[in-house]
Amino acid sequence: MSQVAQAAPHRERLWDAVVAGDEYAGVAVVQEALTAGLDAEAVLLDVIAPVQEKVGEEWAADRIGVAVEHAATAVNERVVAAVAHRAAGGADRAPRGRVTVGCVDGEWHAFPSRLVAEVLRLRGWRVDYLGGQTPTPHLIAHLHHTDPQAVLLSGSLPTRLPAAHTAITACQAVGVPVLAGGRAFGRDGEHARALGADAWAPDARGAADVLARGLPRPAPAAVRQVVDDLPHLADQEYTLVVHSRGQLVKQTLVDLEDRFPAVRSYSDVQRERTAEDVAHIVDFLACALYVDDPEVFSAFLTWTAGILEARGVPARSLSAGLDLLAARLHDFPRASRLLDEGSRALAARPGDLAAGPGTRV
């Protein structure tokens, strides 16, 4: 039986343990899996990783609440630690080299990067794991200090792509190549390429393979400005939308009240949720302007529509928000086009929840 098929029953039992918030049961499941002959990498990637993915899916479908989601993630973190600890006691392998694993500045989803770090350790790399929420200046200081062979940069939130771009160019400027990974960088790594990353990998195994093949150091002389990679930014639409974010949200709320009198009777909490939704639209619009990819914006809209409908909120409020923003941004040709394509994507939506950017986590 293949390791993947072998992992299935453990996966189910681990799922039960994490939604129950039961750390001990979770640790027991993976220890049994290891004893049963699954190797540590398979436990990390074929048992724990799918369970964590399911946590996100179940939250999106409103089948588990925020509390369960966070508790499950915390349990999974400890389960990873238990696997890592047990594996660390095993064979003493000579390190293949030193690498740094970290998240994009402002990225809260540290779990995928944690898995990558552990897989690389298992494969004999010396790994400095910086965790989530690492400010880019700290990352660069760390690179000066340790001079690793590569940085593995993880990103889940597309809205953090501009920050990812900053991190990528900063790492390369000190002569360290960047291997990007995570949902934010696109299904086929298209955003990783657009932002000038040296390599992209779809998952932890792929990342380990890329490292094993070796990544050449970028020429430090080739330090780039943001517009060198993304010449469309010269039109300033991204900058202007980001600068006027607060104002855009306020105006859109006022316009919403004008158009839908029902909005006026919203409670404070409802009003704030609506404001947050509009702010998210603006954030993703800005992100799509940055990478100049309508898919980023459309994927966010269809995903959000699914989230809203799973919670009994009709998705037409999204379309209304898009219309109002389009009216405010009619002088911005790229933004107008994105809003237009977004509206069409919403209209054509089959109601797909499977994949999409995580925002309201």
Binding site: G21, E23, A67, D105, A173, V223, V278
Partner: protein, 564 residues
Amino acid sequence: MGRAPGVPLLVCAFRGSPQSPRDVAAHVGAAWGEAPCPVLVVDRHGALVRLNRAARSLLPRACDGDRLDGIAPAWLSDAHRHVVEGTPGAPSGPLTGAIDERVFEAHPSPSTDGDVVWWLVDDTDRRRAEQALHHAQERSGVLAEASSRLLSTLNVPRCMEETAAMAAEHLAEAAVLVAPPHGRRHTLTYARRGGPVSQVTWKIDPFSVHGLSEALQGFPPVPARWIDPHGIPDWLLPEGFTEPPGSVIIAPLPGHGVPAGALVLLRSGTERTFSDGEEAFARLFAARAGAALSAARLYTEQAAITATLMRELLPPTLERVHGVEYAAGYRPAKDHERVGGDFYDFHPGADPDQETVVVLGDVAGKGLDAAVLTGKIRNTLHALLPLAADHQQVLTLLNGALLTSHHARFATLVLASVRRQGGHVRARLTSAGHLPPLIVRTNGEVEQVPTRGTLVGALPAVSAQTVEATLAPGETCLLYTDGITEARGGPLGDEFFGEARLRRALAECAGMPAEAVVERVQMLAAQWLGGGRHDDMAVLAISAPKNGPLSVVGGEPSQIRRSR
């Protein structure tokens, strides 16, 4: 073949001319003979017909009737043969070649009777100027590359590797960078053109190499011609450099007041020796490398000092202890700093019956100055732990210590003494002028712990009221600083996060483990901020675990803790 550009028009007088070439002079008169460039008339058999004055001074041995291949270089006599024979595929550009030390462009003008007039245009100076310009461009290119490659890293070993690699690439066949000694050991970085760069640290004797010890001591450089290449010891040769060295440059790397090392450039005996120009350029390169290396060394030293001093100021790692979960998170006001005016500390009880003491607080101000005072407060509180049964007394003593220090700052804080009793957790909580802790009950209700007191470090006397709280399994007590509630941002960009939002967020956290609560609060505050500026933010959670005491587990959790 058409008329070569730059050839005076008068030559065209030959074309179709019925006279014999010997009458040329009659046609062109003195102008031909006085032309400033050498002119030779050669017949179809390769014999010299006439030379003008310039040609005679260029080829002093030549006489009329001599064969061209006897008095001129082969390139010219070959070219003549090609022109006469009309060989196809002759080079399209102007013919060039050297005669003695000078370089000429040769422009042939064939006449119908087979004689060819060769106009030689001296091109030497233009070529020299072009070559000089090319060299200058190449060198400034190398220096520019050196600057950007060396400035890009503040890592000393890396900087040495880059220096050696570039030197081997552009200046010599191989290069060795000898770092200043650590004790009696030197780090040596070897690079060979086209080969890998390697680094070793060895005990060597720099005095065994003439010029090396001088360079490492900061004496003026020893000229290359004084260095005996045969005296270069094997340890100064990179692996794969098998030929005996033929010439050597040893250039000091000037540093910040002290030498940053020495750069040894090697060429094997089969290659040409280093010129004076190359030696001067090597020193120019060495100066840049020295500056970059010194900056990297300085940064590394400073970073090490900062890390050592900072270690005591960094927030501690919290963990589950004696059946109670603790977790905390910290985000300094400035993202490039690691410490600030908010702090927390954690002193686990010696055994499960002893209280674990945690503290979270906020010193007025932010940045390093505030962080230094947090260190003092944490140290003082650590010393006062034996008195922790009485929070009021601890705060009075701390207040006294702060008042007598030279710091003009004050602080607010919450003290918590926590112990597990049966399935519940009991906490004695005292606020000294700080935001009161919040408790999340299992049913999602959020309560404020009604403890209040005066801040410390400002008034001669302090008073505080200790409150005892009980946490049922799954309940959490949250200590936080105003950086959370005063986070400014949100969808509209200019609102405070506020206590009401914090309470709403906590209500969703019922039953969550302590670290998940901390992460949730930190995440919501960070999302609220967006990219905006903020104060220091600290949050600390004390939770009664939902699922039973440790004994259930069979020894595993201690392992888990260690590895985290």
